[in-house]
Subunit: 223 residues, 2 copies
């Protein structure tokens, strides 16, 4: 049974998944990059990043952080993400030139379903990634993702607002959060006005590393 | 220079310092006790608890968690706490029989300034603890505490609402938070609508243990 999973999602101690004022220069918002201090040095990220650039690096840290990074890409057959994670522009697409932050060979290698209010033709990228634009809501996107994941799991990439919508509908089966040792003060709060206990979530795993505190939640009251 | 410190303050992953529905039976609110799983087994707590009961235990865990528990009582010359931390009753004092949760010999051994809207005579307890009831606000309480701390630091015990008031006024110099691997879903949120970055706080220390993730913040923009 294909599951919907949030994996490797970094938040600040005060619960923000991204900083304020996302833009072309600050895709994670102001201060947002500090949340990823545990992920960027990992072998998983370093190799992925090098592959995107045509590189061939095999270096990077191993251990707890890399173990979680590896889990983030295991058995994933499709991705879902909000439109703000795909790019910094808002509203109608001015044209179809923007193809994501990730160059010609994005690190997904599966179908990626992008939630948006503004229709756009699918984009086939190198390496097996295809971006599809879904305008009829989160449940429709999940249905399409499951139908095209070859029985594997679906990874919900973010951003915070998209994750909150799926959590509130109890559609997230599993969520791995990395709390990074930083305060953001403002931005997008993952926890605000969401009662995760009432929604059936509980913490089933806690593994600290030197760079982040990793927590895994599971959904036990599926509707 | 005497500092105001929040120490050993436990919160859930979703940022709650206590659960909902505090009462005589559930002084930390529903689910609130799960936040203290790192503190209760420590030698510091075990010895303190045993002393309160006239015991004499010297057992308890040592290591990261106990190190933070020890820091929580080092060089403290006075305490401040909100009235809800002193007891479960609200509004006017029905009588003066309630003397806190802690028996005749509370674990403070200093003056303790309790913020309340309802005046009450001071109570001298065994072991050097005296409870004083302060009705003219957080700054007045801090002034009194500093005047009577013999140059030592002041520990701000809680609860969450009281800590938020002192944080918002930039009066907290240092704050140690232990994030416990639990969700509460509702209750008193430490982070909600407070921009700690704007208020001058930054995370200066992160030490994980098997039972909690410890973070220390310092105030760098004192008014």
């Amino acid at each position: 049974m294909s599951k919907l999973k949030v994996l490797c999602y970094s938040v600040s101690i005060d619960g923000f998944g991204a900083g304020p004022n996302q833009s072309m220069d600050t895709p994670m918002g102001i201060g947002g990059m500090t949340l990823h201090g545990w992920f960027l040095p990992t072998k998983t990220f370093q190799v992925m990043h090098s592959d995107m650039l045509g590189g061939g690096t095999t270096e990077g840290t191993t251990g707890v952080d890399n173990d979680f990074a590896v889990r983030g890409f295991e058995n994933i057959g499709a991705w879902i993400m909000g439109r703000n994670m795909f790019g910094p522009m808002r509203g109608q697409w001015e044209d179809h030139s923007w193809k994501g932050w990730w160059g010609n060979n994005p690190p997904y290698h599966t179908p990626v379903y992008i939630l948006t209010h503004h229709a756009r033709p699918s984009i086939e990228m190198e390496g097996g990634t295809t971006f599809h634009f879904v305008t009829d809501g989160i449940e429709a996107a999940l249905k399409m993702a499951k139908a095209n994941a070859n029985g594997k799991d679906i990874r919900l990439g973010g951003g915070t607002n998209t994750i909150r919508q799926y959590l509130s509908s109890r559609l997230v089966d599993e969520m791995h959060i990395a709390v990074s040792p930083a305060l953001l003060g403002s931005g997008e709060s993952l926890w605000r006005d969401i009662n995760l206990v009432e929604l059936g979530y509980e913490c089933v795993e806690y593994v600290p590393s030197e760079k982040a505190a990793h927590f895994v939640f599971k959904q036990n009251k599926k509707l």
